[in-house]
């Protein structure tokens, strides 16, 4: 989550959609959506603003909450998964005792300390290249 920030991005998009509609609402743009009833607006600009306002409203009501929900759900899933992994690792270590744990049974970075190569001697191999 920290590296890619997908939930954060979803939340940001939702915030932008909500802010956009809120600004249009404050500017009184709800008046310009009369075209939905077949009433042709006086100018093309009014038609464009009406279309924009209608789109932003439906995005704010239908899309933004979905994005927020998805972000929350993703954070919850990742947090739960991390907790489960940590718990599983702890339990495995405790059961096997020190000195006999195989590195691939651990999710923690046991091999190379900077990259994710977890095979034994990864650090040495990398340094020697």
């Amino acid at each position: 989550v920290k590296k890619t920030g997908a939930p954060k991005r979803l939340a940001w998009i939702a915030a932008i959609l909500l802010t956009l509609y809120f600004v249009l609402h404050l500017l009184g743009m709800r008046d310009s959506v009369g075209f939905l009833s077949g009433t042709l607006p006086a100018t093309k600009l009014e038609l464009f603003l009406g279309l924009f306002t209608a789109t932003s409203w439906f995005a704010a009501v239908l899309v933004a909450p979905v994005l927020l929900l998805a972000a929350g759900l993703q954070i919850a899933l990742v947090t739960i998964a991390a907790k489960v992994r940590a718990r599983r690792a702890t339990v495995t270590l405790a059961a096997d005792g020190p000195g006999v744990v195989e590195p691939d049974r651990l999710d923690a970075p046991i091999g190379c300390c900077t990259c994710a190569d977890r095979s034994p001697g990864a650090t040495e191999r990398n340094w020697s290249k």
Binding site: R30, V33, L36, L67, Q74, A94, P98, G99, I110, A116
Partner: protein, 457 residues
């Protein structure tokens, strides 16, 4: 247990010669020289590996996001209607003595607009530039709404009567000065009317309905004689037609215009003490036989003077026709409403909409009904008039769904002047106000019919 795990992890992070807990044999001391320059290019295997891992994480995250979005979307769509569903008191307010807050808001806005002439003329001008028919339709629905409000709120009767008189006088004046064509779309010139002399049932019927509704609330002698003339014209025009219908445009009879004319005749029967029951019954019999769509059983919206169908059943027509026919033939009206509800009503996740055309008819855009939303076929005109029909037939479930859709998609605007809908116009707001206050006028007609039958027997 935790301490041993932490120790293991700490060991794993130390780079160098310390024996690792998982190494079976301790390794010798590493004395090789360390690189002095950091390798930063893409050939660095460690960095390349780290980069590939980052991408793996990103792709995993993206997939997880997609899954979360796929789960969240139906969840949100299933509950979003809760934000818009009207309270019970509001939807139950129709046909009861209580006027809902929504109706009060619409009423206040109408009163403000008409009494102060604030923006009314501009809005009517804009309406006429779009469709001149909307001008008289707006007047008719306003008068019907005020007639119901006057019966709802006897204390405010004088105020509503004043407004009704103003609207009727304006309409009659426009009719006298410019002719009935003033309220027609320009294509009325395309061909001569089949029936002679040329008469426009759309205009004559709605004027008669306005006069009748006004006189039900309170007597006004000069309007009484006007209603007599108007009804005589309407009845003559309808009797002349092979299917008891009058033209609104050259060789074009519209079911909704004829239904308005029938309502006007019913109102006149009550106000003037006439009896056109035989004409009304014959019209319904002819309509059942010749003006219904064989596939859906609903009344078609448009037909020629001699009864050939020009169009199928249309949402923006049939819901209004069903409501109007309630005072002509309750059973037939109920049957039409049920069929329209079945073929055109659509409910999803707490919202309801009405389609303009049933599945058996191709989508055709009509200037009266406004744009249709693709895929679902939702139509503003049909949905607005479905509110009226659902309210008058006491279909609470459909009504609640329609009102939820109204609040969701019609952009309600509340201010100190009252309530209006951004996605609507003067006609739409008039229809909604009428839909939410209708009841007393129709009840009055029903009572009058019962008492007439009682006195006859």
């Amino acid at each position: 247990m935790l301490d041993s795990a932490r120790r293991l992890l700490a060991h794993s992070h130390t780079r160098g010669t310390e024996p690792r807990p998982f190494d079976p044999v301790p390794r010798p001391l590493d004395t090789r020289p360390r690189p002095l320059v950091l390798i930063v290019d893409a050939t660095c295997p460690r960095r390349a590996h780290a980069r590939s891992m980052r991408w793996k994480h990103r792709i995993t995250d993206a997939w997880l996001s997609v899954v979360c979005l796929a789960v969240s979307t139906p969840l949100w769509l299933a509950v979003v209607h809760v934000l818009f569903v009207p309270n019970d008191a509001e939807s139950d307010g129709t046909r009861r003595s209580v006027i809902s807050d929504r109706a009060k808001g619409l009423r206040d806005r109408k009163l403000d607009s008409l009494e102060r002439h604030a923006s009314h003329d501009t809005e009517v001008g804009l309406m006429r530039s779009n469709n001149p028919e909307w001008d008289i339709m707006c007047s008719t629905f306003n008068v019907l709404a005020f007639a119901n409000l006057a019966l709802h709120e006897p204390r405010e009767r004088a105020r509503y009567l004043g407004l009704m008189d103003g609207i009727i006088d304006e309409t009659l004046e426009a009719r006298r000065a410019h002719g009935a064509q003033h309220f027609l779309l320009p294509y009325w010139r395309r061909a001569p009317y089949v029936a002679s002399p040329m008469r426009v049932l759309f205009v004559e019927g709605e004027i008669a309905a306005m006069l009748g509704a006004r006189l039900v609330v309170e007597e006004r002698p000069e309007l009484r004689s006007r209603l007599e003339e108007q009804i005589a014209r309407v009845v003559d025009q309808m009797r002349e037609g092979p299917v008891l219908s009058g033209e609104s445009y050259p060789d074009e009879c519209w079911t909704v215009d004829n239904a308005f004319a029938l309502v006007a005749i019913r109102l006149a029967d009550v106000v003037l003490g006439q009896d056109h029951a035989e004409l009304l019954a014959r019209w319904v019999a002819v309509a059942r036989e010749r003006l219904t769509d064989p596939q859906t059983g609903m009344l078609v919206s448009e037909y020629t003077w001699d009864g050939r169908h020009k169009d199928g059943p249309e949402g923006s027509s049939i819901f209004l026709v069903a409501h109007l026919l309630q005072v002509v033939d309750e059973g037939f009206a109920r049957d039409q409403y049920d069929r329209a509800r079945q073929a055109l009503g659509f409910e999803i996740a707490g919202f309801a909409i009405a389609r303009e055309w049933p599945a058996s008819w191709p989508n055709v855009t009509d200037i009266d009904s406004g744009p249709t939303i693709p895929l679902v076929g939702a139509n503003a005109g049909a949905s607005g008039l479905a509110v009226l029909a659902a309210a008058s037939f006491d279909d609470q479930r459909f009504l609640r769904g329609l009102l939820a859709s109204l609040d969701f998609a019609a952009f309600p605007i509340k201010d100190e002047r009252g309530l209006r809908y951004g996605a609507s116009n003067q006609v739409g707001d008039a229809v909604l106000l009428y839909a939410l206050v209708q009841g007393p006028l129709w009840d009055h007609l029903s009572r009058s019919t019962s008492s007439q039958h009682g006195s006859e027997s």
